[in-house]
Structures are given as C-alpha cells and as structure tokens.
Amino acid sequence: MSSAAATSGTSARKPGPLMEFVHRSRRGAELFLLLLSLAVGIGAYAAVGLGAQGKVPADIYTYGGILTALVVAAHVTVRIKAAYADPILLPIVSALNGLGLAMIHRIDLGRQARTPGSHEFAPSQLMWMTLGVLLFIVVLVAIRDHRRLQAFTYTAGFSALVLLLLPLLPGIGKTVNGARIWIGIAGFSFQPGEIAKLLLVIAFAGYLVLYRDALALAGRRVLFVDLPRGRDLGPILAMWAVSLAILVFQNDLGSSLLFFGLFLVMLYVSTERPGWLVVGGTMFVVGAYFGYLVTAHVQVRVEAWLHPFANTPSGEAVTGTYQIRQGLFGMGWGGLTGRGLGQGSPQNTPISWSDFILPSLGEELGLTGVIAIVLLYALIVERGLRTALICRDNFGKLMATGLATVFALQVFVVIGGVTKLIPLTGLTTPFLSQGGSSLVANWALIALLIRVSDQARRPPPEFFDDGADMDATQVVSLR
C-alpha cells in the first residue's frame, strides 16, 4: 500500500493528510446501498399497484426477482473485476432504473384505464435494462484498463461521426416527433447518437491528452482573457460544424447542445484556459441563433418555451405548447409531496413515459421526490468528477470528466426543458425514461466510470525489492 498521489491542483502542492489517503474497496457499503436501492425500485412498483389498483401487483415476485438478479449480477461483476470501484455509482443507477420502471408501468396502467389495449412499455423497458446490465458486465470484463482505450482515439471519433450521420441516410433513417435521430432496421429502432456520445468522450479525451499543450500554451491576451491561436481553432470549428449540422439536418437541439458543450468543457478542463469557454460560448450562441432562424422545428420549440400558455385565435393550444403545458400542470398538481404513486394522472401528458417522465414523477412524488431524484443525479456527477480528480493518468482524468459532463449536460438539458428553464429538447432522462438506446448507453457509461474509478482508487501495487526481478529488468539492455 503506497501513498496515493493527490493530483488535484493546488492542494497537491503541499503534502498534507490527503497524501496518506488510501481508499478502501467499500464493496460491503455498495451491497448495503444496493439493498436499499432495491427497496426504492420494488417499493415503487408495489406502491403503484396499491395506489392505482388497490392491491399489490400479482407479478411483484417475478418483477422483484428479475430486478434483484440483475443488480446482484452487476454487483458480483464489480466485486470480481473492479474491487476498488466507487461504491455509490451502481446503487444510484439501480435505484433510478427501478423507479423509472415503476413509473413507466404506472403510466401504462393509466393509459390502459383510458384506452384498453394500449401498448405496454414496461416489459420492453425491463428487457432493455437486462441488455444494459449485460453490456455493463461486458464492458467491465472486456476493458481491464481504461488506458487501452486511448489507442482507439481516432477509431472512436470516426465511428461516432458515422453513427451520428447514419440517421440521415435514406432507407434506414427515421424521423420521430420531428427529429431525425433514429435508425430502423428490420422493425428494430435505435438512436445511434446515444452510443456516439460515449465514443466521442473517448475520442476527445485521447485527442486532448496529446494536443493540450499546443492548445494551452500558444495565444495572446485580450482584455484579461487568453485567446487561443487562430490555427488551433481547427478542432473546435470542426466540432461546431458537426453540432450545427445535427441541429439543422436532424432537428435535434438537445444532442447538438450536448456534443458541443461536452467538447467545450473537456477543452477547458484539459487546457485550463477560460479563453476557450469565451470563444466556444460565443460560437454556440451564434450557431444556435442561426439554427433558430433556419429551422422551423427550433422556432416552434422556442415559442413554446416563451409562451407555453398561448392559444390560437380559435382557442386551441398553439402547436408544441400542449405537452409542456400538461407537464407544468402535472407538477403543479403534485405540489410539495405529490399525489402518491398511482394516484395522479400522468397519462394526460403526451409522451409522459419518456421525455416527460420527470413531470410524471413530480406529479406523483411531488417536489420532495423530484429533489431526491435531482440529488441522485448530482451525486453521480460528483462521483464522476471526484474520480477524475484522484485518477493518476491524464487520459483517465479527461475521460471521467467527459463522462460526468455528458451525464450532467443531459440531465440539465432535459430537466431544464420540462421545467421551462430552457427550450424543450428531445433528450431522454438517464435511467428513468423509457427508451432502449439511452438506457443501454447509460449503463455502458456507468461501467466506464466504474472502470476508471477502480483504477484511480486502487492502491498502487507495492514495489518488492527482490533480486531476481531486478536482474530480469536489467537484462533488457539495448547494447
């Protein structure tokens, strides 16, 4: 057990108590939290049944059994493959996923009460969760050291671009609710942007680790801000063009903001120069305004954001405002402590099981419940950034920062959208929303974070001073 090198900025310069800090593996704490998280997930399912139908659902044992099996499988994998990983991440994800499943089931019940025979989303969501956990396990088993991923910098970047462009291809690209971000093959649809977001984090981290010096050191100072050199603007311009293309051709404001924001934050973190934020922020504002001018889809969204209660002269809701309006009414109806699970009417909001799952939860759990959910998201982001701070290699640092950032941005964009803080965009609420691509991709994201945090928290192996080993090392002579 050796001292962990604290690598966090100024505090690292003087040896203090932090220097003696060695992480414990904390698998027991993780197990305890996982049990509590199962209580959150299965408890929600039972409460939905009691509230909506007056009895505990008949399939509670099957449902609880599957959920428990998935969580135990993930936990055992972490125990074997990443023993020193952060103990918080998996339980939070399990709780959010369980709560989301219960809420989707509740909305299924509500829709079936209104129109019998409506499509049920909960069983397919459970199947996607199983796939997500499987991917989680595969990532942890296959990637034993996250630094291996640095070798795939350009491969990851190129695949991400291909995945982002796939929906634009005629034939397999599909337009759903105005945004062309889906591909459909043989009746099976997928959002490639969700996987692209992970690949982009890997690509950006690998690229910035190599070129951050050039990006950080050259430049001149204008009005207290270090502006970068003109020739270094290449990558940021390219990323800006890609984001703008997503906005204009795919009508997807959320992903556009997500990718550009991710790149900007990672650029800032790797170079420590606020100049990039100024340049990038300006470019984003200009690009977004341009996007607003040329795409009708974005104009509708902005109008609905500014005037959600506007009516047409004939008394109808203006296009695009109905959903956000219903969501706001739902949250208002929920109030401080909510209507209780199964006792609100979240099915009145269009797509309440996916993009608008947070207002649905707000209606049934109230502000109290929503604050808890937002706190859980904040804790995931905090653990991601914490991992970045203690990680000992720069690639891992950047990758953890990127993963935490992408998660934070996504939560901000979607929760900000449904609460009318920013214009509504079509992103999913991680782990809560119905939607297979998002769920599977986010499980992979958490697996990567767990892998980096395991490497970061693992105490460095001791250096044994045995003669044979030393000789073996010294034989490697080139002369």
Partner: protein, 158 residues
C-alpha cells in the same frame, strides 16, 4: 384501500427514497473521512508482516518526506516517501506513474539506506539524470537535488 393507508404509503415511499439518498451521502462521508484510519490499521499490519522493512519510526527534522514533480506531464504531483522504495515509471505498478513518452515502464527507483537517499536507474532506455550527468549506479541525492527522467523533473522535499 382506505384514504389513510394511501396517505401512509405516499409518505412512507418518500421516506424510503430519502433514506436511500441520505444513506448514499453517508457512505460518501465515510469514504472521505474513514479511509485514513483504515490506512493506519493496514500499515501496522504490514509492518508486523514484514519486519525486514526498515522504516524510521519518527522522521527527523530535515529529512526528506516527499518527492515533488516539478516539470513534465505530471507537474504538481507530490508523492510521500513514507513507503519507500518508490518505483518510478510508466507502468501500472509504479508508485510514481509518469505520463511521459521518454520514460520506461520501470525506469528508476528511489530508496533509502540509513539516512541517505539514493536514486537508481533500472536499465531504462533514456537514462536517469542527476543534475546534468546520466547516472550508472545508485547515486546519493539530497533535498533539492533535481532528478530528470525523460521530460519530467523530480525533487525531494521536506
């Protein structure tokens, strides 16, 4: 379902949700403050297990206690000397892990003998420099001696 039990379920579930949140936060708290205690306990076990390891019980005043990285990709890091000998290199098992293309996997080693600290090259490709000369054997170092490894410069600190 009576109205009362529904209200109880409603508040009960919110309580479960918040208990989970608070339990998570308390695990984070113990993760922050509990680790040092675990370390001292572990350290003592280790000492008992390996009596051959010579570690001065109390470092005297003026003895170096840490290695600071002054230049290179890891500049700013400070690593304690408490667990000497320390392996320096690019490999996974190095206590001072450097992100530097000019550093070998197991590059050099900092060790103590009596009161004197030494740096020793472990057959690296690009060599280890103390001051301006490349070292060929274990070389004594003192406070403030600059050790250059690849593009990285290290120095012992009090």
């Amino acid at each position: 379902m009576s109205e009362l039990s529904l209200v109880l379920i409603r508040f009960g579930y919110l309580a479960v949700l918040w208990i989970f949140v608070l339990a998570t936060i308390s695990v984070i708290r113990t993760d922050m403050f509990g680790a040092r205690a675990a370390r001292t306990a572990g350290g003592q076990e280790r000492k008992a297990a390996k009596p051959t390891r010579s570690k001065p019980a109390k470092p005297r005043k003026g003895d170096p206690t840490s290695v600071a990285i002054l230049e290179g990709g890891n500049a700013g890091e400070v690593v304690s000397l408490a667990n000497a000998p320390l392996l320096i290199g690019r490999g996974n098992d190095a206590a001072i892990r450097l992100d530097d293309d000019y550093v070998s996997t197991r590059h050099a080693r900092i060790a103590v003998s009596g009161d004197q600290w030494y740096v020793e090259d472990l057959g690296s490709t690009n060599g280890t420099y103390v001051g301006s000369s490349r070292i060929t054997q274990a070389t004594a170092i003192s406070l403030g001696t600059q050790i250059r490894i690849g593009k990285t410069i290290l120095e012992m600190r009090k």
